[in-house]
């Protein structure tokens, strides 16, 4: 592992603002970002990362096979939950339904972790293919589908299972914006990019800082409740699951012939856990599962882990694998 890179990541403004939010929330400060602003920041990041991915893809041509990457991403998203479910059922005492709900989160991805990863790659001067954005978009639905199957497996005729949230998952605003902006980027290419560069490129890293400040505040509030909600075994899961999934993702990336930066990003996506789309989908599909478990794990344990230690590790991993 490249220690200089790891330290550079730790003292970069985005990570430090995340830490500031975390500390403020742990100290019970009333610092908070209004919900509408947090939503807008997240829409902005989605729009920008999607658009830039699309422009990059239109430039280099589709440097790697788009379908291959999407297929691999979908496969990872479907298989990681199975591993997570099995680990949870053997090492912790959570119920079948809770294990399935948690597993869905780890099969899916955290787009902010992905974005922080691209920023770290930029800082390290490592290029990555624009189509990795498409991989990110493909890693939600499979995880949810597998998790619903795992949740109900072996339970004869559960009465009144709620309608599966396929419509909500497929038309999830974030994914629609990410893919839409990607396509717009592909269509308008470098010309469109130069039109809106001062909006989507220049302030990007600063907006990321503000958003991570908010994420720190949210994660810190969650962290305050960790002792009430998580057993040591669960807490451990939140820490060992990301690198395991990350290695699986990285190896897959190497096998399908991704370049260095692509391997790193696929490892980051695999290692990250959702805390936006999947929680809402789980509330709809598995209302009996305890949000306290999956939200705290994904948000208060795995997300900070990935942001600080995970990302440099996945980047180093990509270096070894390629």
């Amino acid at each position: 592992m490249d220690w200089a890179l790891a330290i550079q990541n730790l003292i970069s403004p985005p990570v430090l603002f995340f830490a500031l939010g975390l500390v403020a929330a742990l100290a019970r400060s009333d610092l908070s970002i209004p919900e509408a602003i947090a939503k807008a920041l997240s829409l902005y990041l989605m729009l920008a990362i999607g658009f830039k991915g699309g422009v990059a893809a239109s430039e280099n041509g589709l440097t790697v096979d788009l379908l291959l990457v999407i297929g691999a991403a979908g496969l990872l998203s479907a298989s990681i939950p199975i591993l997570a479910f099995w680990l949870l059922r053997t090492t912790t005492r959570v119920s079948q339904i809770d294990a399935a709900a948690i597993a869905a989160h780890y099969g899916s991805i955290s787009i902010v972790t992905f974005i922080a990863g691209t920023a770290a790659l930029d800082a390290a001067g490592i290029a990555f293919p624009g189509i990795m954005v498409a991989a990110a978009a493909a890693m939600e639905a499979p995880a949810i589908a597998i998790a619903l199957f795992l949740a109900h497996r072996g339970q004869a005729g559960t009465p009144q299972t709620p309608k599966a949230p396929w419509r909500e998952v497929a038309l999830n605003g974030s994914i629609v914006l990410l893919i839409g902006a990607f396509i717009i980027g592909m269509v308008t290419g470098q010309k469109g990019y130069s039109d809106i560069e001062p909006f989507i490129a220049d302030p990007f890293k600063g907006v990321l800082c503000l958003f991570l400040l908010d994420m720190g505040l949210v994660a810190g509030r969650e962290l305050r409740q960790v002792r009430k909600t998580l057993t040591p075994a669960l807490l451990a899961f939140g820490l060992y699951m990301p690198p395991i999934a990350g290695v699986i993702g990285g190896v897959t990336g190497a096998l399908i012939g991704l370049p260095d930066g692509g391997i790193a990003l696929l490892a980051i996506l695999s290692g990250s856990a959702s805390y936006i789309a999947v929680p809402a989908a789980m509330r709809l599909a598995l209302p009996q599962a305890k949000p306290a478990l999956y939200l705290t794990l994904s948000l208060a344990i795995t997300f900070p882990f990935n942001l600080t230690i995970g990302i440099p590790f996945y980047i180093a991993l990509a270096g070894w694998l390629s």
Partner: protein, 104 residues
């Protein structure tokens, strides 16, 4: 003096991700109208939450108000009950007087 007429006020506090489904359900029932209000913060048996400190819509609550005729209440309650039974949701019913009874 202005005449008023007795009606019922149904309030449903429900999680934001369910709102669309609830409203679709209400649109299919004999309900004269509804108004949804946002909530800021709350606590129940499980977690306590603050709107500005959530990563996702999960956990955020919304209050749906329905003013309707007593006669329509049982059918509506029965349908709502089906949906809410496994979910979070606080349903309350109370008496109100309205000005224009023909609206409900």
């Amino acid at each position: 003096m202005t005449q008023t007429y007795p009606k019922k006020r149904l309030s449903i506090i429900i999680e934001a991700p369910f709102l669309n489904r609830l409203l679709d359900l209400l649109d299919g029932l004999d309900v004269p109208g509804y108004t949804a209000l946002p909530a800021l913060a709350g606590r129940g048996k499980s977690r306590s939450w603050r709107r500005d400190a959530l990563s996702s819509d999960a956990g955020r609550m919304v209050q749906v108000l329905i003013v309707l005729d007593q006669g329509k209440v049982p059918a509506v309650l029965q349908e709502i009950r089906k949906v809410l039974d496994q979910q979070i949701g606080i349903v309350t019913l109370s008496d109100v007087e309205v000005l224009r009874p023909e609206l409900f």
